[in-house]
C-alpha cells in the first residue's frame, strides 16, 4: 500500500510541476491529459465490457459545443456571436469568462450523460459488429447535423470566447493545463473507484459471456447503460475543455472528429492494453509522444509512420503494452508462477 501512495504522489507532483518545469509543452501536456481521459473512458466499454464503441466521440463533441454555447449564451446573444460577419464584438470580462466556463463544463458533462442514457437504451441491445457500426454512424450523423445548425455557427464554425487579459502570457496555458489535469485526476479516481467494486466484475461478465451473465440474474442492460453514462460524463467534460483550449470549434474537424480523436481513443486503449486500469494511461502517453515525434521528424510522412506503428502494435502487441508486460513478468503483477509447472507445459507443446 505504501508503494501505491508513493506512486500516486509522484504522479501528482509531476502533474502539478509539469507546466512550470516544461513551460513550452503546456499545450501538448494538456492534450495528453484529454487523450488519457478519452482512452480511459473508452476502456470502460471497449476493454471491460467488450463493446467496441466508436460513439464516444459524440459525447466529446457534444460537450465541446455545449460548454462554448453556455459560456457565450450566459452573457451575450448566442446567435449574434456565431453569425459570420456580425459587426459587433463581444468581450468577456474575466469573471464572466470563468463563471461561463464553470457553468459550461457542468452542462458539458451532464447533458451527454443523459444523452448516453437515452441512446444507450435504444442501441445497447445490439452486440458485436452491429453495435460498433451503429456507434460509428452516431458520430458521423452528429457531425453533419451540427454543421447545419445556424445558432452554433453551422459550417462557419464557432469561435470560443478568447481568454481574458489576466495574469500575463502564460495564464491561458496554465489555466487549461490545470483544468485538463484536474479532469484527468477526477476521471482516474472515479474509474479506479468503480473498478474496485462489483461493477467491474459485472462488466467483465458481460464481456466474457453476456447470455450467461443474464442467466445468472444480472440485469446486463442496466449496467451497460450505466457504464456508458459514466464514459459520457467524462468525455463531455474533456470535450468542453478541449473546445476552450483549441479556441475554434468546427463540426467535423474538431468536435465530432471521429476520423482522428474517435479512432485515436480506441488505438490508445489497445496500445496500452485494454481491460486494465493503467493500460489506457500508458497507451495514451506513448501514443502522444510518438505522434508528436513523427510530426516533427517525418513531416509529410507522419501518417505513414503512424500507420506503421499501428500495424506493429497489432502484430507484436495484440494485448497491448500492459498485456505484453504481464506475459513477460507475471510475478510483477502479483501472479505466482510455478516454474516447474510452466516448464512442463512448455515441454508438452
Amino acid at each position: 500500500m505504501n508503494k501505491n501512495v508513493l506512486l500516486y504522489a509522484a504522479i501528482l507532483v509531476f502533474g502539478l510541476a509539469a507546466p512550470f518545469v516544461f513551460p513550452a509543452f503546456k499545450v501538448q501536456l494538456s492534450i495528453l491529459c484529454v487523450l488519457i481521459v478519452l482512452a480511459t473512458t473508452w476502456n470502460i466499454q471497449g476493454g471491460e465490457m467488450g463493446y467496441n464503441t466508436f460513439g464516444n466521440i459524440l459525447f466529446y463533441g457534444l460537450g465541446m459545443y455545449l460548454c462554448a454555447s453556455v459560456q457565450v449564451g450566459m452573457f451575450f446573444p448566442l446567435a449574434e456571436w456565431t453569425e459570420s460577419g456580425g459587426e459587433k464584438t463581444f468581450v468577456h470580462t474575466p469573471s464572466q469568462f470563468f463563471q461561463g466556463m464553470a457553468a459550461g463544463l457542468v452542462v458539458a458533462a451532464v447533458v451527454p450523460t443523459i444523452v448516453a442514457g437515452l441512446i444507450g437504451y435504444a442501441i445497447l441491445g445490439l452486440r458485436g459488429h452491429y453495435f460498433a457500426i451503429c456507434t460509428l454512424g452516431l458520430g458521423v450523423a452528429a457531425g453533419e447535423i451540427s454543421g447545419g445548425i445556424e445558432i452554433i455557427g453551422a459550417g462557419q464554425g464557432f469561435t470560443t470566447p478568447p481568454f481574458p487579459n489576466v495574469g500575463g502570457l502564460e495564464a491561458r496555458g496554465e489555466f487549461f493545463y490545470f483544468l485538463s489535469f484536474g479532469a484527468l485526476v477526477l476521471t482516474f479516481i472515479a474509474v479506479r473507484a468503480i473498478y474496485s467494486t462489483r461493477f467491474r466484475l459485472i462488466l467483465n461478465a458481460i464481456r466474457d459471456n453476456e447470455d450467461k451473465a443474464e442467466a445468472m440474474g444480472i440485469e446486463t442492460m442496466k449496467y451497460k447503460i450505466i457504464g456508458w453514462m459514466v464514459s459520457a460524463f467524462f468525455c463531455g467534460l474533456a470535450g468542453g475543455i478541449m473546445g476552450g483550449l483549441v479556441g475554434y470549434i468546427d463540426s467535423t474537424d474538431v468536435a465530432f472528429d471521429g476520423r482522428e480523436m474517435g479512432v485515436f481513443m480506441v488505438l490508445m486503449a489497445i496500445l496500452g492494453g485494454k481491460g486494465t486500469l493503467w493500460g489506457p494511461v500508458i497507451g495514451a502517453t506513448v501514443f502522444h509522444i510518438f505522434k508528436e515525434g513523427f510530426w516533427t521528424f517525418f513531416l509529410g510522412w507522419q501518417y505513414v509512420a503512424l500507420g506503421i506503428l499501428i500495424v506493429v502494435i497489432v502484430i507484436y502487441f495484440p494485448e497491448g503494452i500492459m498485456g505484453w508486460l504481464r506475459e513477460k513478468y507475471p510475478e510483477r503483477f502479483g501472479e505466482v508462477v510455478d516454474e516447474a509447472d510452466r516448464k512442463a507445459q512448455v515441454e508438452l507443446k
Binding site: L7, S84, G85, V246, G247, D250, V254
Partner: protein
C-alpha cells in the same frame, strides 16, 4: 506490487524525454528572420496548401536573392519553418502554439483556408505575434477585433458579388433567380452570405439554397433541382473539389443554365482537367496574371507567372500569388519599422500602403485588404479545344467579352 516500479520508471522516462527535447529559439538569429507557418500538406486542403507553400518559397527566394531585408543598416534573409496542419483546425492551433512557444517564432505567415486561420488567429493574438495571411478570407476573421492579423486578400463575401450584379445588369436591371450550393465550411458559407446580401440589394430571388458536405464528391441532387427549376444563375463554392465536382456533373447531366459562377477554378486547373466541359464557367479570383499591377521584385503578373511556371511547372493560381505577396508585405513592414520589435512591426503593417504585382495592399482596421477588387474570369476555349481563363470583369482589366447566356448543351 512491483508493477508500480514499472510505471514509476515509465514516468521518469517521460520526464527525461521532455526535458531533453531541444527548445530552439529561432526568431531573428544572425542574419535570418525566421517566420513560422502551418500549412496543409496533407488532408483535404493539401493541393491548395502546396500552392500556398510554393508561393511563400518563391517570394523568399526572390527577396533573399535580391538583397534581402534591410533593418538597422544590416541585411537579413527570410527563412520559414513549416509544419503540416493536416487541414485540421485543432492541429493548426496546436502548431501555432508550438511555433511560438517552442520554436520561438515571432512573426507568422497564415495557413491555407479561413477555418484554419480562424483557429490560429486567437493564438497569435494572445502572444502579440504579427501574422500576415494570404488565404483566410472569411469575413468573420475581420470583425473579431484582432490587432495582429493582416490579410492581403479581399474578404470572402465579395467573391461572387460581381457575378450576381453582372447577371442583374444583363437582365435589364431586374432581379434574377439564383440557385446556389455551398460547402459546409467557413469560407464557402461566407461566399453564400455575400450572395444573400447581393440578392437582397438587387431584388433577386434565391430559389435553391443547398448545402454540400465537406467530403464533397456528388451534387447530383442539387443539379436535378436546377434542371427542373431553371434558375438564371447557378452559384457553386466548395474549394477545389467543389469546382471539379460541379463541372463534372453538370457536363454528365447536361444541365443548362445561363450563368454558372464558381470559386477556385484556377486552383482546380479546371480548364486543363475538364477542357471543353468547363467552357463558359465564370470564376471569382483574387488575382489574374493579366492584371497590370507592378512591383520591383516580380515586375508584373505575366513575369511572375512565367517565373513560377519555370520553377514549379504549372501556371500559378491566385493562392500562390497572394502568398508571395504576403512576404512582400512583411519585407516592406520590417524595413519601415526598422526594428524587430513585434509592436513596431505590427504598427508598420497596419500602415501598409503599397502596390505589388498581385494588387494594391492597404489594410482596414479589421485587417482585411480594402484596396484590391476581385476579378471575374471566364473559361473560354478555341476550336482546337485549348481552354484559357480570360478576365471579363471588372471592365478595366477585361481581356475578353463575357459570353452570356451559356449556349445549351444540345447546341454545343
Amino acid at each position: 506490487m512491483k508493477i508500480n516500479k514499472l510505471i514509476l520508471s515509465f514516468i521518469s522516462a517521460v520526464a527525461i524525454l521532455l526535458s531533453t527535447s531541444v527548445v530552439s529559439f529561432a526568431k531573428v538569429v544572425g542574419d535570418k528572420i525566421v517566420l513560422g507557418a502551418a500549412i496543409s500538406l496533407t488532408g483535404k486542403y493539401s493541393s491548395n496548401g502546396v500552392h500556398t507553400q510554393n508561393g511563400y518559397n518563391m517570394a523568399v527566394d526572390r527577396i533573399n536573392s535580391m538583397g534581402g531585408v534591410k533593418v538597422g543598416g544590416k541585411t537579413y534573409k527570410f527563412e520559414i519553418i513549416y509544419y503540416d496542419d493536416e487541414s485540421n483546425p485543432k492541429r493548426a492551433a496546436q502548431l501555432a502554439e508550438r511555433l511560438i512557444s517552442q520554436d520561438g517564432v515571432e512573426f507568422m505567415l497564415g495557413p491555407y483556408s479561413s477555418g484554419l486561420t480562424k483557429a490560429i488567429a486567437p493564438v497569435t493574438e494572445k502572444y502579440g505575434v504579427p501574422m500576415v495571411e494570404a488565404n483566410g478570407a472569411s469575413r468573420s476573421l475581420f470583425t473579431k477585433g484582432y490587432k495582429y492579423l493582416f490579410a492581403v486578400l479581399a474578404p470572402a463575401n465579395l467573391y461572387l458579388d460581381v457575378a450576381i450584379r453582372t447577371a442583374v445588369e444583363l437582365n435589364g436591371g431586374k432581379g434574377v433567380r439564383i440557385a446556389q450550393a455551398f460547402e459546409q465550411d467557413a469560407f464557402s458559407q461566407d461566399v453564400r452570405l455575400g450572395i444573400l446580401d447581393a440578392a437582397k440589394e438587387t431584388g433577386s430571388e434565391i430559389i435553391i439554397d443547398d448545402k454540400l458536405p465537406k467530403e464533397l464528391n456528388d451534387m447530383a441532387a442539387t443539379l436535378v433541382k436546377v434542371k427542373q427549376m431553371k434558375p438564371d444563375v447557378l452559384v457553386v463554392s466548395g474549394h477545389t473539389k467543389g469546382a471539379l465536382t460541379a463541372i463534372r456533373q453538370i457536363a454528365e447531366m447536361k444541365v443548362d443554365v445561363p450563368m454558372l459562377a464558381m470559386t477556385h477554378c484556377d486552383a482546380a486547373k479546371l480548364s486543363k482537367q475538364h477542357g471543353k466541359n468547363s467552357q463558359y464557367a465564370l470564376c471569382a479570383s483574387q488575382w489574374h496574371k493579366t492584371l497590370t499591377y507592378k512591383d520591383n521584385f516580380f515586375k508584373d503578373g505575366m513575369t511572375y507567372a512565367a517565373d513560377f511556371q519555370k520553377e514549379f511547372g504549372y501556371d500559378p493560381p491566385y493562392q500562390s500569388a497572394e502568398s508571395s505577396a504576403a512576404l512582400l508585405v512583411f519585407k516592406d513592414a520590417f524595413e519601415r519599422a526598422n526594428s524587430f520589435d513585434q509592436k513596431k512591426v505590427r504598427d508598420a503593417l497596419a500602415a501598409t500602403n503599397m502596390q505589388t504585382f498581385y494588387g494594391n495592399i492597404k489594410f482596414a482596421p479589421g485587417g482585411q485588404n480594402v484596396d484590391k477588387p476581385m476579378v471575374l474570369f471566364q473559361v473560354m476555349c478555341d476550336g482546337a479545344g485549348k481552354c484559357e481563363n480570360k478576365v471579363v470583369a471588372p471592365l478595366k482589366w477585361a481581356s475578353a467579352k463575357l459570353i452570356h447566356p451559356i449556349p445549351k448543351w444540345s447546341e454545343r
